[in-house]
């Protein structure tokens, strides 16, 4: 490793030294920042500005100069609805189906995931044997790629898969899970919780371990029962960490795409199509590539994410100060 890196670093030193002589020791900081700033500018800030232009232009050409200006028409198309709660009454019904699917998904996924992560973290925080091993057990799926997660569960859930064999054996009877809209959605929530809960368990476990032991000893002196101890000590002291976990899970939940797309392809029908898949399909997978519509939908998602991230930063700040 070092044999490759050292010569490269030595080559870079020559122009860096020249720049240092020109700019002085303090301004050289900008030179160190430059590559990062260029990348941020080119691939984060410029896209945000361009996204607004895309959202206000139509046509299917990706080049901005070839796109006619249409004003707020894309947003009009997306929000033309008689009743927002019923996608069938909307002009862009797929968008609203994706929006409502995402909402339901996020509520269920975040709820179950935080619940199970909390339970797991509390159990792992007890005086148990082989804690490190059990922690890795729950963490392991976090490392798997979304496509791998999807395929593992597809293989288990397929019509002649091992789950149906087990259900046949118990007498309950198998089922063609991924063909049924409600079950496909349920399993999508399940695999998503399965794949990500280890990550939140880890954060909550760190939070639990930060609670001072003597608080619990005091509770034991007062003969508080476990449930009371949990309600009155653990939960309040853990609430800052819980907030971080919930907001982080919400931010990621809204952007769910990979594992569900590889798992069900958004189907059956549009049962598991979420908002990012809608953006991907409008902009990149369909025949007329409706970049304008995709960008308009992106802006709406971005709005939600900005609010969530601001909440996250505010919580972090409060946690650090407090």
């Amino acid at each position: 490793m070092l044999q490759i890196i050292s010569p490269i670093m030595r080559v870079i030193e020559v122009p860096m030294l020249a720049l240092q002589r020109m700019l002085g020791t303090n301004k050289i900081a900008w030179v160190f920042l430059l590559p990062n700033l260029i990348l941020f500018g080119l691939f984060a800030f410029l896209p945000v500005i361009l996204n607004v232009f895309y959202a206000m232009t139509g046509g299917d050409n990706v080049l901005l100069e070839a796109r006619p200006f249409v004003g707020a028409q894309n947003f009009g198309t997306l929000t033309e609805c008689d009743n927002f709660l019923d996608p069938n009454t909307c002009r862009e019904d797929k968008f609203w189906r994706a929006v409502w699917n995402t909402c339901w998904f996020v509520v269920l996924q975040v709820g179950f995931m935080v619940g199970f992560s909390l339970l797991t973290a509390i159990i792992l925080n007890r005086d148990i044997r082989a804690r490190g091993f059990f922690r890795s057990v729950f963490f392991f799926p976090v490392l798997l790629s979304p496509v791998v997660v999807a395929l593992i569960w597809k293989w288990i859930l397929q019509r002649e898969g091992v789950l149906n064999a087990f259900l046949d054996w118990t007498g309950v009877g198998g089922y063609n899970w991924l063909v049924d809209a409600n079950w496909a959605f349920t399993w999508a929530v399940f695999i998503s919780v399965w794949a990500h809960m280890g990550f939140y368990t880890l954060i909550l476990l760190a939070g639990l371990q930060a609670i001072p032991r003597d608080v619990y000893e005091a509770a034991m002196m007062d003969r508080a029962n476990p449930w009371r101890t949990f309600r009155r000590i653990t939960l309040p002291l853990l609430s800052p960490t819980m907030l971080v976990v919930v907001v982080l899970a919400l931010i990621k939940g809204v952007q769910t795409f990979d594992e569900v797309y590889a798992f069900t392809g958004g189907g059956p029908g549009t049962a598991t199509t979420f908002i990012i898949q809608y953006i991907y399909e409008e902009g990149f997978a369909g025949a007329p590539r409706l970049f304008g519509l995709a960008a308009a939908a992106s802006l709406l998602v971005a709005g939600v994410l900005v609010v969530l991230t601001l909440i996250q930063l505010w919580i972090n700040r409060r946690n650090v100060d407090g």
């Binding site: 670093m9 030193e13 160190f32 990062n36 990706v62 148990i128 057990v137 798997l144 496509v147 953006i279």
Partner: protein
């Protein structure tokens, strides 16, 4: 056994296990089963032959029908055990099957041909690993190409990200200059812009830079991450300024200070970031899906996803490929799991 039991049931002081202890161990056992089980099942299944994979209900371990090579026949012949009828108890090899009748031959007496009803026999099976699932990946698909693409993207993106982010973190932690707060705010700002919400303009920029359908189109846009800058800056702040001043006295250039002092001293943080970057890039899906549309540019993840669409029934190839895709990350995890856990807990993920 008694000792193991004492070991497992030992608790803090109290003589008997509380019900919460039973619940905890029950939950954890279920956890092992639920978290590892599916992956283990994938691993076992990937060694089953296509015929074995079709079997319902499935067997736990991979089995394959025993065959026998007989003189005068080019192909090895499948073996059956007769369960009823005239030849009950004998092990016969099948020559051909017509309807529910089969023409069989006794391996011990290959001259004579026997006619049997297929209801009266069952295949002779033995435990066997179908390694051809794996070897055929290399023959039938351009598997090495996908593997190389994934590796190239992961290595280059990680190296680039470490260099660029550590340079920025160095500038933001060790220099007092005007505009530093503004730059820091900008870095925080990028936290709010995940790739998923700027797909369309990002696609334009990458296309205009001539990186559409090029591995660099995946490598470069991911190189600057706010998480990386924050993680490294937080660590570099703790390095005492006196070391830098001493180096400046010795006429070391700023660049030399950066890579001879700052980088070696921040090695733990850089290691954590490296592991995270490897994980993100190896598992990346949506952006490569948009940028890389030609099969020869596919990463392992894209190849796996497209094959599961094309080869709906060819589970043997899909399962073997899935195992090979998760293998590198699992190995990294086994050796570095302590760093991964602390790294992820300290950055709060991506």
């Amino acid at each position: 056994m008694g000792r193991v039991w004492t070991f497992l049931t030992a608790t803090r002081g109290s003589a008997r296990l509380h019900w919460t202890d039973w619940f905890s161990y029950g939950y954890l056992t279920l956890g092992i089963f639920l978290m590892f089980g599916p992956v283990v099942w994938l691993l076992i299944s990937s060694f089953k032959t296509e015929a074995d994979l079709q079997r319902f209900p499935p067997t736990l371990l991979p089995y394959a029908q025993q065959t026998v090579e007989l003189e005068g026949y080019d192909e090895p012949l499948p073996l059956f055990l007769m369960t009823a009828g005239e030849y009950e108890g004998a092990t016969l090899a099948q020559l051909r099957r017509v309807g529910n009748r089969a023409q069989m031959v006794d391996p011990l007496n290959p001259g004579e041909r026997l006619q049997v009803n297929i209801a009266n026999r069952e295949p002779v099976e033995e435990f066997s690993l179908a390694t051809e699932n794996y070897t055929s990946l290399f023959e039938r698909f351009n598997f090495l190409r996908f593997f190389w693409n994934s590796t190239f993207i992961t290595v280059m993106a990680t190296a680039l990200m470490l260099l660029v982010n550590s340079m920025a973190a160095f500038a933001l932690s060790k220099y007092e200059f005007r505009g530093r707060t503004a730059v820091l705010l900008m870095v925080v700002g990028t936290l709010m812009i995940p790739q998923t919400v700027v797909l369309v303009p990002l696609f334009l920029i990458v296309t205009e830079l001539g990186m559409f359908n090029s591995l660099w189109g995946v490598i470069i846009p991911g190189a600057a991450t706010p998480t990386g800058v924050f993680l490294l800056r937080q660590y570099m702040i703790t390095i005492p300024d006196e070391i830098l001043d001493a180096a400046r006295m010795d006429k070391a250039s700023e660049w030399k200070i950066f890579w001879r002092i700052i980088i070696p001293l921040s090695a733990p943080a850089i290691a954590v970031l490296a592991i995270l970057a490897i994980m993100w890039r190896w598992n990346d899906f949506l952006w490569p899906l948009i940028v890389l549309t030609r099969t020869e540019n596919f990463t392992l993840q894209l190849a796996l996803n497209s094959f599961q669409g094309e080869l709906q029934t060819d589970w043997s190839s899909i399962l073997a490929m899935t195992v090979l895709t998760l293998l590198p990350i699992s190995l990294v995890f086994m050796f570095l799991q302590k760093y991964i856990a602390t790294g992820i807990a300290s950055t709060g993920g991506k």
